[in-house]
Symmetry: C2
Amino acid sequence: MLEKIKLPTTRNGKATFHLLLRAAELLFLENGYHKTTVADITQKAGVAAGTFYVYFPSKISLYQHLLTDISHSIRKEIAEKIKDKDSRRDKEKEGIKAFLEYAVKNPHMYNIIWESFYIDRALFRDYYESFSRRYVRGLESALKTAEIADVDLEVVSYILMGVTNFVGLKLILDLGDTPKTIESVVDTIMHVLDHGLFSKK
Amino acid sequence: MLEKIKLPTTRNGKATFHLLLRAAELLFLENGYHKTTVADITQKAGVAAGTFYVYFPSKISLYQHLLTDISHSIRKEIAEKIKDKDSRRDKEKEGIKAFLEYAVKNPHMYNIIWESFYIDRALFRDYYESFSRRYVRGLESALKTAEIADVDLEVVSYILMGVTNFVGLKLILDLGDTPKTIESVVDTIMHVLDHGLFSKK
């Protein structure tokens, strides 16, 4: 499914490769994936037209690479922040915080990820299914040690992804009437995850 | 902001108006908003080219109308299902179920709604901010009667919209390893809203 790209090996190659990625990212943001051509990308990157195909067999292969990149860097951020936490509850709290911090620092990530819904539905599926599977593995360990409720963990993974994605959207688009800090939204999310919404706590 | 459309008054006019809307909806699904032209829409609808402008000043005004339509019919479905429920908890449960049933019956709604993110960010904001405000009003009444926890209700509205949107996506795209029924996902969501995820219940 994934078309093979050719990773650069030399220092110059790496620089060109990253110029192409950043140029594409900016153009996808400004004009969308479909309206952006390979010629636009090489022009914006300031490299010769043929250079694109040294690394990427097609525009879609560059897009796939961007998507994988984002997915890896979100996971890396989260892994880094939760590695010293012991309980699943604290891991969850720090993981949600790390995701929201990443979203605020990289507000274009929604553009890139959600556009897959319109570019190739299979990429959208892969993105969220693979995120969900990793989530479920973490939740399964927590279920074994009775740290979480015994509920359908696959559904829980979509519940948690939905919460972080929509609260993230609220933060980066500044939706609603009152601006919120990351700390305060994490507190509200954790209240719901600790006690529910309908408990009197 | 909203360009004025001219609603049809005659029976023929209404039929043409709906032909145009359905044709546009199908084309936006197949080819996306940007690639669809007004000429494509009239051709698909089987009406004369000039007919479009009898009702819609522009392609964006038709899209805005579609978005408003979806928003109204989702709200109507939910209002219908919760009107006999007394407690906020039961209203929430039936509202979530109604939303998911609507999503499963109208899987194209995500295409239409989320494409606003790429067509005109202001439309995306309006869509979710107005949904959130209505949610907050309902939650505020429940807070007065101490039916829900005393937390930031605006954030809670985004938490709940995130949950229903992502669980809805899982259902309509059949994401993940095991297919789920609407009843079973609603049970999982309600467990989390009743008790949280980290409580031992």
